[in-house]
Amino acid sequence: MQPGLYHILFISTALFFIGVYGFFTRRNLVTMLMSVELILNSVNLNFIAFNKYLWFDKMDGLFFTIFIIAIAAAEAAVAIAIIINLYRSHNSIDVEQTEELRY
C-alpha cells in the first residue's frame, strides 16, 4: 500500500525519541552526538513529509532539510574537535568523567 503522512510522522517521531533516549543514556560522547543526528534526521523526515503531503506547491521543507544536513555536519565537526580536545585533557570521552563543573 501507499504509505500516508501518518506513517511517516510515526516513524519520524519514533526516530526523534530514539535519538532523545540515546542522548540521555549513552556514556560515550560520540554516541551522544550520533543520537543528536538521529533527532535532526527525524526533523528532516518531518519536513519532507509535510512538504510532500501538505504543502507541495512550495519547496520550503526541502530546502530546510538540506540546510539542516549541512549545519548538522558543521556542528558535528566542531563537536568532534571539542571532544578530541576533551580526550586530550581527560584521557577519556566518557560523559561520566566530565562532572567537575557542578553545583
Binding site: F16, G19, F23, L29, M32, L33, V36, I39, L40, S42, V43, N46, F47, F50, L54, W55, K58, D60, G61, F63, F64, F67, I68, I71, A74, E75, V78, A79, A81, I82, I83, N85, L86, R88, S89, H90, T98, E100, L101, R102
Partner: protein, 465 residues
C-alpha cells in the same frame, strides 16, 4: 545592488574584518600587541560606521530585513564586542591563537546580526547556529584547562540537543502553517494544540539561549569553564542578540498566541528570577556567581517583555544596553584579577579595596548597577522593565519581582562586603592593568552612571520602536 550594500552594511563590514583576519593568520607576520591594536581600531570603526548610511528595508524577499531599531541593536552588540576587545587585553595578549579567537567571535557576531535581521525561520535557524557553534569553540580556548574543554563540550552538546528540539518545533510549525516566513505565519496561526506544542518547542530554543529556567542548567558550567572573554561574550552579546530577536518573534510572529505566551512568560520569569537568585546566593566562584546573577537578570528581562509591545521593546533594548556596560565591567574586573592571580573565589577579594581601590570601586559600581541601585543606569533599566510588566496590572507578579530585587541585592552586597569591609591579612596584590583596559573601565563606569541620567538615550530608543 546599492541597496544591498547599504542594508547589509554591518554584516559586510564584519565579513571584511573576518577575511582580513584570515589573511593575517595565513601571513602570520604580526605580533599580538599590534594585531590587537589593529583590531581595536577596526572594531571601533565598525562601531562608528554603524551610525551612518542606515535605512530600513528588506532583502531576498523578506528573508533579511532591517530597521532603525535593528541597526541600533546591532550597534549595541558592536559596542559590546569592541569593549570586550579592550577590556580583556591582558588575556588576549597572552593568548597564542588570538586571531582565531577573534575570528570565531566575529563569526558569532555575524551570525547574531543575521539572527536579528532574519525574516524567516530558515534564516533564523541558520544564523542561530552560526551564532552558537563558534561560541562553543571559543569556550574551549583555555586549552590547558580541563574545565574549559568540559564546559565547551557541555555547551556544544546541549546546544545541539536544543536545536534538535527547536527544529522539531519548527517542523511542526511548518506543518501546521505551511510557511516559514515570519510575515505569513501569524496569518495561519489559530491556536490549535499542535501550534501550542510547536511554539513551546520553538520557545525552548530561545529559553536555552537566554538560559531561562528550566533550560538554564548549562549556563553556569559553561561560564565557569570557559575563558572570561568568552564568558562575557556569551553572557552579554549572545544573550542580547537572542533577546532582540525574541522580542520581534513574540510581538510580530506569534502575536495570535499572545495570551499563551504572556502566561508562559509569567511562569518562567518568576521561576527564572527565583532559581537564579537562590543559586547565586551560595556561589563562591565569581564567574559562576555572575552566571546565576545573569540568569536572574534574564528573569527581569522577561518581566519587561511580558508587557505591551512598545514599552516592552524599548525597555528591554535599554536594559540590554545598560547590561552590556555593567556586566562587562564586572567581568573585566574579575578577569583582570584572575589573569594576574588565579583568584576566582569571592573570598579572595577580601580587603581588596586596600590594594586596588580603582578596581574595587568599578566593581562596586557595576554590581550596584546590576542590583538596580540609583543613580546607576541599572536602576532605570530594572524600573522600566517592571513598569512595562506592570502595565498588565498583576500585582502579585510585580511584588515577586520586586522582592527578588532584594534577594539579588543581598548577594551583590556579599561581594561589596568582601571587597570593602572584611579584614584580610594578605589581600590581592596591587594589579597593574593595561591603559586600554583602564580607559574602557572608566568608559564603562561613565556609561553606568550616565546612560540612565541622560534621558534622551532612552527617548531615542523609544523613538525607533
Amino acid at each position: 545592488m546599492n541597496d544591498f550594500l547599504t542594508l547589509m552594511k554591518p554584516e559586510l563590514v564584519l565579513t571584511g574584518i573576518i577575511f582580513l583576519l584570515l589573511f593575517i593568520k595565513i601571513g602570520k607576520g604580526i605580533s599580538n600587541e599590534h594585531l590587537l591594536l589593529l583590531l581595536q581600531v577596526l572594531l571601533l570603526l565598525n562601531f562608528l560606521a554603524g551610525f551612518f548610511y542606515n535605512k530600513p528595508g528588506s532583502l531576498f524577499d523578506g528573508m533579511y530585513l532591517t530597521t532603525g531599531l535593528i541597526v541600533l541593536q546591532k550597534n549595541i552588540l558592536n559596542l559590546a564586542v569592541y569593549l570586550i576587545s579592550l577590556l580583556f587585553a591582558n588575556w588576549f595578549k597572552r593568548l597564542q591563537h588570538m586571531p582565531e579567537f577573534f575570528m570565531l567571535m566575529l563569526c558569532a557576531l555575524l551570525g547574531m546580526f543575521f539572527l536579528i535581521s532574519s525574516g524567516n525561520l530558515l534564516m533564523f535557524f541558520l544564523s542561530l547556529e552560526l551564532a552558537t557553534i563558534p561560541v562553543a569553540a571559543m569556550a574551549n580556548f583555555d586549552l590547558d584547562k580541563k574545565r574549559s574543554s568540559e564546559g565547551a563540550m557541555k555547551m556544544i552538546l546541549s546546544s545541539a540537543f536544543s536545536s534538535g528540539i527547536m527544529l522539531f518545533g519548527i517542523s511542526l510549525i511548518y506543518g501546521a502553517t505551511g510557511t516559514i516566513n515570519f510575515t505569513e505565519i501569524p496569518l495561519q496561526l489559530h491556536g490549535s494544540t499542535l501550534e501550542v506544542l510547536a511554539f513551546i518547542f520553538f520557545f525552548a530554543a530561545f529559553a536555552f539561549k537566554l538560559s531561562i529556567v528550566p533550560f538554564h542548567l548549562w549556563t553556569a558550567d559553561v561560564y565557569e569553564g570557559s575563558p572570561m572573554a568568552a564568558t562575557s561574550f556569551l553572557s552579554v552579546v549572545s544573550k542580547g542578540a537572542v533577546a532582540f530577536i525574541f522580542l520581534s518573534v513574540l510581538y510580530k510572529v506569534f502575536l495570535p498566541l499572545q495570551v499563551l505566551w504572556y502566561n508562559l512568560l509569567v511562569i518562567v520569569s518568576v521561576a527564572t528570577m527565583v532559581i537564579g537568585n537562590l543559586f547565586a546566593l551560595r556561589q563562591q566562584n565569581i564567574k559562576r556567581f555572575l552566571a546565576f546573577s545573569s540568569i536572574a537578570q534574564v528573569g527581569f528581562i522577561l518581566v519587561g517583555i511580558s508587557g505591551s509591545s512598545m514599552q516592552g521593546t524599548s525597555s528591554v533594548v535599554f536594559f540590554i544596553l545598560v547590561y552590556v556596560f555593567s556586566n562587562l565591567a564586572a567581568f573585566a574586573v574579575a578577569d583582570a584579577i584572575a589573569t594576574k592571580t588565579d583568584a576566582e573565589e569571592i573570598d579572595d577579594y577580601r580587603g581588596m579595596n586596600k590594594t586596588n581601590p580603582f578596581l574595587s570601586w568599578v566593581l562596586a559600581l557595576a554590581l550596584f548597577s546590576l542590583a538596580g541601585i540609583p543613580p546607576t543606569a541599572g536602576f532605570f533599566g530594572k524600573l522600566f522593565l517592571l513598569t512595562a510588566g506592570a502595565s498588565k496590572g498583576s500585582y502579585l507578579f510585580i511584588i515577586i519581582a520586586a522582592l527578588n530585587m532584594i534577594i539579588s541585592l543581598y548577594y551583590y552586597l556579599r561581594v561589596i562586603r568582601a571587597v570593602f569591609m572584611e579584614k584580610n591579612e594578605n589581600p590581592i596584590e596591587k594589579i597593574t592593568i593595561e591603559p586600554s583596559t583602564k580607559l574602557a573601565l572608566i568608559f564603562c563606569s561613565a556609561g553606568i552612571v550616565l546612560i540612565g541620567l541622560l534621558s534622551w538615550i532612552y527617548d531615542y530608543i523609544q523613538s525607533l520602536v
